[in-house]
């Protein structure tokens, strides 16, 4: 049914309206025929397509507003905010330790990095980053181990969903198959597959469970067999290269102007990696290389991610070796005014409190009970000031600007999420290209909307 604008003939799915810019058709689906018939000769063909926020290829709830000329994108805009949950505001109403529980949910593919950057900021405010009364070595090694495992799982999802969006479903299935292995390791070590809240100010919340190192070693051995599959499947695949090469071009100057970091920046050939240039958590003591590519395009970013998984595997291997020598070492700062008073013990039902600790505070020491109560309900106070300790997340520079007023809760915690900054490059990467390439360009940025919207 061609809509003429009169009320009785109005098409439910393709209404028109006259605006000061001329006749505007609003199309919501399945009626392209009526629209093309309805377009009169004098109508200027200018199509604005709304893509998302529920479109499966927009990486979550990203809304794209594309202006098209034929199949060429002339203007691309992003609409974000659909996943905004007020995490930063909520953190101002919880203790410093509880803050970890909130920020781990931001970039849900890289929970350990969210925790780590926040915790490093808090530790800087507390003045316990390193040294003898600082975060113990084993906690640092465990953080590095978990972050690098997390980098592998995050890059796997980036490659898997990126493959799915261009129709390479096998890449998706094998990507998620391997990610599952990493999540199993997370479950073994932290008890949870996502949203771990495992890295705490002062260290980590639990010691490595028995048998974890064996599992990690067998994972490394398996990944060494399976990672080459991605290279075999994609690296020289003519369809894959045809879709990715030259798409989403952004050079070094563009990256710096728009604030892009991570694999996008390294795909321009610039070896900027905070783990090397501004090391934290002891990264300077690990042997690994910064991976770059020099094509500035989506294919380069794919290759950088693939190569970075190998590097992460190297770091995981070294961290596992160190942990083997650190059995029984402390995982939490020695200061009892910061360290959580108890360790969880696993009961017959698979979870539970430490019975020893309960006996101690309930039956043996009134002071221990008071201390437990104060630390758990009130939390510790953090000296006033501000800190910003950025880390290299799988997507780039992730930093937490934490401000304390001397209280028991964060006065302000702001996260500079790399997805948020990187997504600004959408217009630059997509405009002038084809509609289908928009998907590839965005997939190469690898935005996670939980991190963008926070």
């Amino acid at each position: 049914m061609v809509s003429t604008g009169s009320t009785d003939e109005r098409d439910l799915y393709a209404g028109t309206s006259d605006t000061h810019e001329g006749k505007v058709f609003t199309v919501t689906g399945q009626d392209w025929d009526s629209i093309t018939q309805g377009l009169e000769d004098d109508v200027e063909e200018r199509i604005v397509v709304n893509m998302g926020p529920q479109h499966p290829s927009t990486h979550g709830v990203l809304r794209l507003i594309l202006e098209l000329e034929g199949e060429t994108v002339t203007e691309a805009r992003c609409g974000i905010g659909y996943l905004h949950t007020g995490i930063e505001k909520n953190m101002e109403y919880r203790s410093w330790v509880q803050g970890v529980t909130f920020c781990t949910r931001m970039d849900y593919l890289a929970p350990f990095f969210n925790e780590a950057t926040y915790v490093l900021g808090v530790e800087k405010l507390l003045g316990i980053e390193d040294g003898d009364d600082g975060v113990p070595e084993k906690a640092q090694v465990m953080r590095v181990l978990l972050m690098e495992l997390n980098r592998i799982s995050s890059h796997l999802v980036a490659i898997a969903t990126g493959g799915m969006e261009i129709g390479a479903l096998t890449v998706m299935t094998i990507g998620f198959r391997e990610r599952e292995l990493v999540l199993d390791l997370f479950e073994l070590i932290t008890g949870l597959r996502m949203n771990h809240a495992f890295i705490r100010p002062g260290g980590v919340s639990q010691d490595l469970p028995p048998g974890a190192l064996d599992e990690i070693r067998s994972f490394i051995a398996l990944m060494k067999k399976r990672l080459p599959e991605y290279a075999d499947l994609c690296n020289a695949n003519p369809i894959f290269k045809g879709r990715l090469e030259g798409v989403g071009h952004l050079d070094l100057a563009g990256c710096l102007a728009l604030g892009l970091t991570g694999p996008v920046l390294r795909s321009t050939g610039y070896p900027w990696d905070l783990r090397k240039t501004q090391p934290y958590s002891g990264y300077e003591t690990y042997d690994f290389d910064v991976q770059t590519w020099d094509t500035c395009d989506s294919y380069g970013r794919f290759r950088v991610r693939l190569a970075e998984m190998w590097e992460s595997l190297r770091i995981v291997e070294q961290a596992a070796d160190r942990l083997a020598n650190l059995e029984g070492a402390p995982i939490m700062v020695a200061d009892k005014k910061i360290a959580w008073p108890s360790q969880l013990a696993i009961g017959s039902d698979g979870m539970g409190n430490s019975l020893d600790h309960i006996r101690h505070i309930m039956g043996e020491s009134m002071e221990a009970l008071i201390h437990h109560f104060k630390l758990v309900t009130e939390g510790f106070r953090v000296p006033p000031g501000q800190a910003y300790v950025p880390i290299e997340s799988p997507r780039g520079e992730l930093g937490a600007h934490v401000v304390s007023d001397g209280g028991t809760r964060p006065f302000r915690a702001h996260f500079r999420d790399p997805s948020f900054a990187n997504l600004q490059a959408t217009s630059v990467m997509a405009e002038g290209g084809m509609v289908a390439d928009v998907i590839v360009a965005i997939a190469s940025i690898d935005p996670v909307m939980g991190g963008v919207d926070r």
């Binding site: 909520n90 102007a257 728009l258 900027w272 910003y388 702001h414 900054a421 600004q424």
Partner: protein
């Protein structure tokens, strides 16, 4: 082309933890967050000064002096020495408090000066200090120099009644979304921004949610006959 790895900015032992004293930016009252809760312990009457690190003294130490010297030399040549209100050194980080009107000029210099070369801006973060009279709203910019592998922080403070700060999107285009977010959450108006609209909250949202006077919201939760008030109305330590 490869970045200089010899200077680690954060853990450099040559950099001082702090030079200078402290200054008050407000007070914290009470012990338990809420007032009028029938607290008879006496702790509800506590008044504590919130003290932040104040202006540091020369020499700042390490590369802090190089950056400050380069900045001062340029400012003197343009007769704008007062553009930097104070320099705070705290926890191995350097913060330049910049006068509002001079922010674009200072930012441009930080980006372009050969001795500074801060190529990347990590965005702007707003902070609301209701107790800091006349300077309630702070905009905090983190700049990164990849050439020299250094980080500095710029801080601009404005009054709640006049929340205008010049935009630096023309200097650091990455700040486009960051400034929109800070406007959305704090109501700081970035003059000269190409399209300063809300970004995370809906367009017609009233108020600016991350200001301290904006309530967290939430509803009381009932469980087994008891009622727990929303987090911002609970009795909690402050």
């Amino acid at each position: 082309m490869s970045p200089d790895n010899t200077q680690d900015p954060s853990n450099d032992p040559k950099l001082p933890a702090r030079t200078g004293g402290v200054e008050s930016i407000g007070v914290r009252r009470g012990m338990f967050g809420v007032s009028g809760s029938g607290d008879t312990s006496g702790y509800g009457g506590l008044v504590k000064q919130t003290v932040f690190p104040s202006a540091g003294q020369r020499p700042y130490g390490g590369w802090f002096d190089e950056v400050a010297d380069a900045l001062e030399a340029r400012l003197r040549s343009t007769d704008l020495v007062a553009a930097v209100e104070k320099v705070v050194i705290d926890r191995g980080e350097i913060t330049f408090h910049v006068r509002r009107d001079d922010l674009p000029f200072v930012a441009q210099m930080f980006r372009d000066d050969e001795a500074l070369r801060f190529e990347l801006c990590s965005g702007v973060s707003g902070v609301h200090y209701p107790g800091d009279a006349g300077r309630e709203l702070h905009a905090v910019y983190h700049l990164l120099s990849m050439t020299y592998n250094r980080r500095v922080r710029l801080e601009v403070s404005v009054a709640d009644a006049d929340p205008h700060i010049p935009s630096i999107v023309s200097i650091y285009p990455t700040n486009d979304w960051h400034e929109r977010e800070t406007y959305d959450m704090f109501g700081i108006v970035f003059d000269g921004h190409p399209a300063l609209t809300r970004i995370l909250m809906p367009d017609d949202w009233p108020g600016h949610p991350q200001r301290k006077d904006y309530p967290l919201g939430g509803i009381p939760v009932e469980y087994k006959g008891g009622t727990i008030p929303p987090p911002d109305q609970r009795r909690s330590y402050s």
